[in-house]
Symmetry: C2
Subunit: 124 residues, 2 copies
């Protein structure tokens, strides 16, 4: 099934608590993920919450990557939305799990932008 | 089912082509959506692509909103990730459809951050 974009919703559980509260580590992990996907980074936004938790969003020419962390629950929600046709989800998830010390990861991939002609089974 | 966050994936088809290429309109639509959700806006990133298409991402204290537009396909992919318990999806989708002239909208809602104790059926 062809689509304009691929969207990975990644649930990272049982992570390293201090990693999830380390803004620099989280931001660098997102940027390195973008680099591994051969993406073009356009902008990076981050925020450190008080008392704990961080958000980082990387806008890429191919869409975006985002992460929101709840260190108190050892949980992070990550999204990778890309137009890349070559992204290997397993590689990305493996890299993220290592960086954040995740013990339990669930991933859902959603096709975004399935156009009417494609939906009807005709090539777009 | 309780979760830390709710994530709406909104597929906006058959939109007004010029609306999707209007960076100011798209950005303001996202910010107004955040306001309607009583969100706290922390940062706004935008990009205008050459020759067409825009991206806008609004970081909110409750997570994020994003939109990527493909005016050539009259399509936009929007995401609303929020910790709000009160978001009325139908209201949000109605507002977006009007602003972007969408003729065909599909929405998927995904629960994010279902914690182990909640997954096991025990209150967290």
């Amino acid at each position: 099934m062809d689509a304009l974009g691929r969207h990975l919703l990644i649930e990272l559980h049982d992570c390293n608590r201090s990693a999830l509260d380390n803004l620099e580590l989280v931001r660098d992990t997102l940027i390195e993920t973008a680099d591994r996907l051969d993406s073009t980074v356009l902008d990076v936004s981050t925020h450190k919450f008080d008392p704990i938790g961080v958000t980082a969003i990387v806008m890429i020419a191919e869409s975006h990557l985002s992460i929101h962390t709840w260190p108190e629950h050892r949980y992070a929600a990550m999204d990778i939305f890309t137009c890349s046709k070559t992204m290997q989800s397993a590689d990305v998830v493996g890299f993220l799990s290592t960086r954040l010390g995740a013990g339990n990861v669930q991933t859902v991939e959603v096709n975004r932008g399935i156009l009417p002609l494609v939906r009807a089974g005709r090539p777009g």
